[in-house]
Subunit: 421 residues, 2 copies
Amino acid sequence: MSALPHDAAWRARAAKVIPGGMYGHQATTLLPDGFPQFFARAEGARLWDVDGRMFIDMMCGYGPNLFGYGCQKIDAAFQKQLYAGDCMTGPSAIMVELAEALTAMVTHADWAMFCKNGTDATTMAATVARAHTGKRKLLVARGAYHGAAPWCTPRPAGVLPEDRAHVLSFVYNDVNDLARAFTEAGDDVAGLFAAPFKHDAFQDQADVDPAYARACRAACNATGALLIVDDVRAGFRLARDCSWARVGVQPDLSAWGKAIANGHPISALLGAERARDAAASIYVTGSFWFAAAPMAAALATLRMIRETDYLERLETLGGRLRDGIAAQAARHGVPVRQTGPVQMPQILLGDDPDFRKGFHWARVALDHGLYVHPWHNMFLNAAMTDADIDAALAATDAAFAAVAKNGASLPPVPQLRGLFA
Amino acid sequence: MSALPHDAAWRARAAKVIPGGMYGHQATTLLPDGFPQFFARAEGARLWDVDGRMFIDMMCGYGPNLFGYGCQKIDAAFQKQLYAGDCMTGPSAIMVELAEALTAMVTHADWAMFCKNGTDATTMAATVARAHTGKRKLLVARGAYHGAAPWCTPRPAGVLPEDRAHVLSFVYNDVNDLARAFTEAGDDVAGLFAAPFKHDAFQDQADVDPAYARACRAACNATGALLIVDDVRAGFRLARDCSWARVGVQPDLSAWGKAIANGHPISALLGAERARDAAASIYVTGSFWFAAAPMAAALATLRMIRETDYLERLETLGGRLRDGIAAQAARHGVPVRQTGPVQMPQILLGDDPDFRKGFHWARVALDHGLYVHPWHNMFLNAAMTDADIDAALAATDAAFAAVAKNGASLPPVPQLRGLFA
């Protein structure tokens, strides 16, 4: 009998009616055994799986949860608008207020367009860049995730060479390789996609080198290409502005999603004046894009972003977690690499080329009530407290102890065999 | 001073922060003067604009409203799940129940994948078809709308030739032209997109010819291509099954959205067993795709679809409206063409090549409290009553009277100048 009978039963039913039993970024296919596929409840900083286990959730829905699951202030605004009118035959005036709020907060932005998926926003950015420049090439950092449409999805089944015919890659933070890519593209660059920092899966994260960010801006200025910051994942977790405002570089376009309505479904493309006509020229739309309730939730979320110290608290909590983990790792003699901003931490174990130790670490932490991810950056949320960080550190301490004890005798992880063959 | 001071004020603010003031299918750019851009409230069969005017809404949010805005049974299920957990770090088990419910109702479907936009579902269908066949061409009926991604959006600004390199078109309901397209594509057809009926804008609608539907199926059988019914717009308004079940033809894939959760944001790709492995092989995902509250709303919507006589009522109400309009048109001596299923009517005036009479007709109906569309198919919803149809007919009677009186002296419509130059 499975230790997780309810999860096992739902997986068995899912296998019949969902291809592969589950798909996309929330499939547990590449997670350690024992990680639940199905959840029953979420509140504040916590998640409950279908077998009744409670976790402090370090994934925050892969980003959307910024102020806690079910945040009352935000959900009250959502509910009020849901009763008034949500998906109507036209937008509510709230759409205008939301565009005003975002353009007031995000320095580079003079206009906003709303959509549903982060991929909608990045694909719209590519389309606007091509319409604006009349050119074709998109430059993207190798390994950076910009969505799951044919032009950018990381797994190319069903994708044609034509879908990516004009996508060129370069090495993030490498000014010389950026210059090489521009040279290779000739006078045909429509847009340069910039991740706010390097947050690729299975790798150490890296903050953006300001000199590199300035070089991106200069290359776009020189060629007329549009500079696009993909802030879908990091937006408003690093700054109350576009993430590259921290290094003083203003893009022409920025893509947003995930946290901007604290989990209610809405994404956005923001843009500078110079790209406005191109944005007005493209045809993009969706059945639910103009629904008002998620926009009301976004307005309430933005108000909390402006008026509370959530960002400073995320940094303080994240700093305590990082320091605590560093001390535990040293004490247990288990090398660890903690990278990325403290509020979006990547935690990878040293001397662990095929992630077998990291999988063990994550599994033991899970068994102690902490949902951590062994190869994807995590997220803190502002509903977390010092007590939650204490509880998280108790779980990671047990995980380090287990790796110290068992690390040398762990077998390879079958799930990852394909990746590290 | 504008007759609609609030709408005018919001439009002025929108013009500053939204490209073109509004975009997509809900922009009023191609609607008569006097049509409001911004709405304040929706309930049941009715809409209120920001200037306080109330309308019986014949657009139903362009489709999502099937059981009335704010339907209590559906929204109660949504709210309950929203409190329990919506956009979490993994799906709720409700996702499995929803996949089970849809595959039980839709004859051809053995599995389901959920997404947010109708365009997500149609693009996934294309990707699955290419992954399944290893071939490239997509056959689509000329003028049919299948979404707003670069491969299919009706306005090609920012789109590259490569995005459509393998999209071929043919004439809907024309078996000979379908055969020509297959011949032209050679042995390279991945998928054939089929609209459930011809519901193109600015045109008379046409039901599917059963012989044509069978020819589509036969051609796919002969070549190995996948047959894809795009039921995003019409799904569950024609049948409690895939729309082509009415003509006895089962597709391999069907795309759904709009009404499946009565306006809550969720879309779906359903598929037959033979396409399951290909569906499992592609990588598609979205930040909000696995959110549980819209899935709970969908489950409640499907229950009402199965357990109420909503479909028969839509047909009865739609039949009354059609008969009433036909009688009015005859009485006023204004020729009218009413096409498409009665529950998704297209109403175009005769002897009106540039739509100036239709615009006048729609505007007068609007002034009498009925929101109708002059060139896009409309939608009935199950919250409508006989009294609503009576009120709608009172408005259309005034509209026909106005066209009878003024029709010969109307100027061309400036908004449409580009279309009918």
